[in-house]
């Protein structure tokens, strides 16, 4: 069966003053219908950019320089702005870290929700409002009728994010891209929002691309995980497997560095150094200066993401 979303060898470049920065290199992954994929990495790894390029939201000086993004049989990288607008917010919804990226501070929730529906469907205000109410109930917002007349600033952060999720559900999308949806929220609220997302994806058979730096959050919500480092996917596989038995040295380091992975009060295992900037990527494998398994080949050649003996996709020469 054809997957819902298939990203193949996606490359994104930024044309800067003195050089071209390769921000994404050969990023490939698929999301099936109703499948949940977590995209994990540190800041600057290119995970947000991946989400943005799927919806063609990259602005100059960035551009997609290669690869394809197949969604429901169409290549999004080839579409015009008008065609993509038809998909954006309709078949694919996006949830940002800051709910105020989506919400307009000077309009009531009602106006924003009704307008969103009417942008994609020809229905009356009454019907649109009914859908809006229905979706607000769907995300467990108490007294939804009252919320419709409120402005975003009258609501708490967690409530705003719920409204954003409700808005993203309005058009019954096939895929939701959630970019750090809970990073700005408190733990108790984060847990509630994540539970909600998980429940919605299961019930509505929606695909989810969850972009986050938090491995623990990903491990609770997604089925597949893709770890990014310096613009490449370095490891991809079923979430449980990757978390329990990481194979790529970077993933291993990342998991070992979590306080949960070692005894209380003991020194944490740390990856030395920092992620290189795009402007001066090391030769060969981008991770080699920080890698304990580094050999000569790692300094010379770039490892590609390939299926290893375990069935996992790993981009590393040292993993058999």
């Amino acid at each position: 069966m054809q997957p819902l979303l298939e990203v193949k060898n996606l490359c994104v470049e930024f044309a800067m003053r003195s050089q071209v920065l390769r921000a994404l290199r050969d990023v490939s992954f698929t999301i099936g219908k109703g499948e949940r994929l977590g995209l994990v990495g540190e800041s600057g790894a290119g995970k947000t950019l991946t989400g943005f390029s799927i919806l063609n939201l990259i602005s100059k000086p960035g551009y997609i320089s290669g690869g394809s993004i197949l969604f429901e049989g169409r290549d999004l990288a080839e579409l015009t702005i008008e065609q993509i607008r038809d998909i954006r917010g309709n078949r694919i919804s996006m949830i940002f870290q800051d709910p105020m990226m989506t919400l307009n501070p000077v309009l009531t929730i009602r106006t924003q929700m009704v307008e969103t529906i009417k942008a994609h469907q020809k229905i009356s205000d009454k019907e649109a409002e009914k859908i809006a109410l229905d979706k607000l109930q769907r995300v467990y917002i108490p007294s939804p009728e009252k919320r419709l007349d409120q402005y975003p600033h009258e609501l708490s952060g967690g409530m705003r994010q719920r409204i954003v999720i409700a808005i993203s559900l309005l058009t019954n999308p096939g895929l939701i891209i959630a970019d750090e949806p809970t990073t700005a929220l408190d733990v108790t609220i984060q847990a509630e929002i994540m539970d909600l997302l998980l429940e919605l994806c299961r019930d509505e058979d929606m695909g989810l691309l969850l972009i986050t730096h938090d491995l623990a959050v990903v491990s609770e919500v997604t089925q597949k995980i893709a770890v990014m480092y310096a613009g490449r996917i370095v490891e991809m596989g079923p979430t449980r497997d990757v978390v329990d038995h990481p194979e790529h040295p970077y993933t291993r380091g990342l998991i070992a560095a979590l306080p949960q992975s070692c005894d209380q009060g003991q020194r944490l295992l740390q990856i030395p150094g920092i992620m290189p900037s795009l402007a001066n990527l090391p030769s060969g494998c981008s991770f080699h200066p920080r890698c304990e398994l580094c050999q000569d080949i790692c300094k010379r050649e770039v490892p590609v993401l390939e299926t290893k003996a375990s069935g996992r996709h790993v981009a590393c020469f040292m993993v058999k």
Binding site: T188, A216, S219, E220, A257, Q260, S261, L268
Partner: protein, 340 residues
């Protein structure tokens, strides 16, 4: 139990309260009420009657969600804000009411590390200037070479190349800046450090580096930490004891094992159940209904009653005092009445 040893506490916080007046100018304060013009002040009750003590060499973590007053508490102890009422006692001497001049010797002993590595270093000063300033200020008699030597030594200790000392902060990565920030706190050889979310703004792999540095320094220099954080897995890792705050009130204080294995206060329980766990071995999250009330209009009685599963009439009326238990202190009627 740490709480009951005879060690003299390094720092005692007694009934500290901090309210901020946000009512603005006189004209903004005038409100029409019951047919009369009245002057109404708007107070943000950030910290309300918090009492605890810190023993030498331990790490006390203060946890809670944003807006619970944990940062304000840290700043009140450091005298960045003067507490509205209550006492801060350092080695038996009350320090919250000292003049800036009398405070000076305590400034050497108590230092702070801040959350945002981008805002906590003056962008117009080189690393060397940033680190030399406190040393010169507190040791006017020290020669130039001694100051330099001391600064370079501290830089090396926090894992920075001393050759970088003429660079400006923006030339460093977030993790390195946080090291500079820690060096600035350590350069005065303090005994006590308030660390306000020191790793919250950093990437996962860098978090581990900074956390290790903080633990190493504690060992090498016999430091005592007040560690303010919202990240419970980090808190579990490094603390001796944990204090949980909600809406400016202390809910529970207990040794770290007790808090994580046997949380008593309903809020602590909810908070702990919400930690995302690696591997998805998932206990169901305790759902807290509703939102955190604003610290401007605190609820009557127990501040948590609106979201608490165990709240009854008494909780709505009467504020629970924080009561000593076998393992720690808890402020909850339900725990006291053994309903939980």
């Amino acid at each position: 139990m740490a709480e009951q040893t005879n060690d003299t506490p390094l720092l005692q916080v007694r009934n500290v309260t901090k309210h901020f007046d946000i009512s603005g100018g006189l004209l903004d304060q005038l409100k029409w009420k019951e047919g009369k013009m009245r002057r109404v002040r708007t107070l943000v009750k950030a910290v309300n009657g918090v009492t605890f003590r810190i023993l030498p060499g331990e790490t006390l973590s203060v946890v809670g969600e944003s807006g619970c007053g944990k940062s304000t508490l840290g700043r009140a102890i450091m005298r960045i804000h003067r507490p509205t009422s209550g006492e801060v006692i350092y080695r038996g001497k009350r320090v919250d009411n000292l003049s800036s001049h009398d405070m000076k010797p305590y400034r050497r002993k108590m230092q702070m590390v801040f959350q945002d590595p981008y805002a906590s270093l003056n962008p117009r000063m080189t690393v060397r200037q940033i680190l030399e300033e406190p040393v010169r200020f507190h040791n006017p008699g020290m020669s130039r070479d001694e100051v330099k030597e001391h600064v370079l030594h501290t830089l090396k200790q926090v894992g920075l190349d001393p050759d970088w000392n003429n660079q400006f902060p923006h030339e460093f990565s977030g993790g390195q800046r946080q090291r500079i920030s820690i060096a600035r706190a350590l350069v005065l050889d303090p005994e006590f450090i308030v660390a306000d979310e020191p790793i919250a703004a950093l990437d996962v792999s860098i978090q581990a580096q900074i956390l290790n540095l903080l633990m190493d320094m504690q060992q090498k220099r016999d430091l005592t930490y007040l560690f303010i954080s919202h990240d419970l897995s980090v808190v579990e890792h490094i603390s001796t004891r944990v204090a949980v705050m909600y809406l400016g009130h202390l809910c529970e204080v207990a040794p770290v094992k007790e808090i994580f294995n046997n949380p008593k206060h309903p809020y602590t329980q909810a908070l702990l159940s919400a930690i995302p766990r690696l591997g998805g071995k998932k206990k169901s999250h305790i759902r807290l209904g509703g939102d955190v009330p604003t610290p401007i209009n605190l609820p009557s009685g127990c501040v948590f009653h609106g979201r608490c599963r165990f709240a009854d009439e008494r909780c709505r009326q009467e504020m629970p005092p924080i009561v000593e238990h076998a393992t720690g202190r808890v402020a909850c009627h339900a725990v006291e009445e053994e309903r939980i």
